[in-house]
Amino acid sequence: MTTTTRGHDEPPSVALRTEALEQLLTERGLIDPKVMNGIITQYETTVGPLNGAKVVARAWTDPEYRHRLLEDGTAAIKELGFGGFQGEHIVAVANTPTTHHVVVCTLCSCYPWPVLGLPPSWYKDPAYRARVVREPRTVLSEMGLELDDEVQVVVHDSTSEVRWLVLPERPAGTEHLTEEELVPLVTRDAMVGVAKAAAP
């Protein structure tokens, strides 16, 4: 038995290539593994859709904040302490009973990291990226969101510098809930526009 199961003609696995690249970059002083571990941990633990949910819940309960969010998303989001890399220019768009916004990045995977974290796999998938532009109603229906025919669907492509954040409609029957109680109702999918925020 031997560990050299890979022949010399066989390309190394992507896991080995990743490890090799990390070693070379570290040896050349181009990355500090401690800094890199800190960055990975940050995205794994603190940056995620909960941040965006707090923004949405604030907009649902504070009309002036909602106005500021729709006027200048980046600045309003920064008020709550969120911002930075991949969030330099966030534009928030509000869903209404007659207009539904949905977000895609047709060319790669642009996404507002500070408020939503890293994108889910379906967002990066070639099928979603190609089809949501051509047939948004069908794609949304397949993802469980049925929209009435009179609702206008607007697809936002994040290929430019802009990162989009969908402000979902506040669910009916939640008038008595506080901002904190509303936060758990706001899902990542609702903020990408492939779902609605649901009443508890």
């Binding site: 290539r17 490890e19 050349r28 990355i31 800094v35 890293l118």
Partner: protein, 120 residues
């Protein structure tokens, strides 16, 4: 700080709305390398993004319909492209080092390389 490599231990991989953020340990390393290099000023994000878009477009143009889409594999390839363009690390250097890692003797820490059949 080795938590991201721990797939079943106390620091299980993070989930975002129920989905694994990284499905394999190397994906988080590939992600972390690109962001770390960007933050250190090694390249601009548009430089990396352009390389990533090119890799994705090339895959979509050539992949067979049943070939699984591996986003982070394309991410790593894009990162290698940018680093090769900067003469920082060449593709051949990565290949040589990866082959050397593949020849590590048994008992080394090959945490995510269990694609061979010997027992541990």
């Amino acid at each position: 700080m080795s938590a991201p490599l721990d797939i079943e231990g106390p620091a299980a991989p993070p989930r975002s709305n129920g989905e694994l953020l990284f499905t394999e340990p190397w994906e988080s390393r590939a992600f972390g390398m690109a962001v770390t290099l960007y933050e250190a000023g090694a390249f601009t994000w548009p430089d990396f993004q352009t390389a990533l878009i090119a890799r994705i477009a090339a895959w979509e143009a050539t992949a067979s319909p049943d070939e699984p889409y591996d986003y982070y594999q394309l991410w790593l390839a894009a990162l290698e492209d940018v680093l090769a363009g900067l003469c920082a690390v060449s593709s051949d250097e990565v290949t040589v080092r990866a082959r050397a890692l593949a020849r590590r003797p048994p008992g080394h820490d090959h945490r995510d390389l269990h694609d061979h059949d010997h027992p541990h």
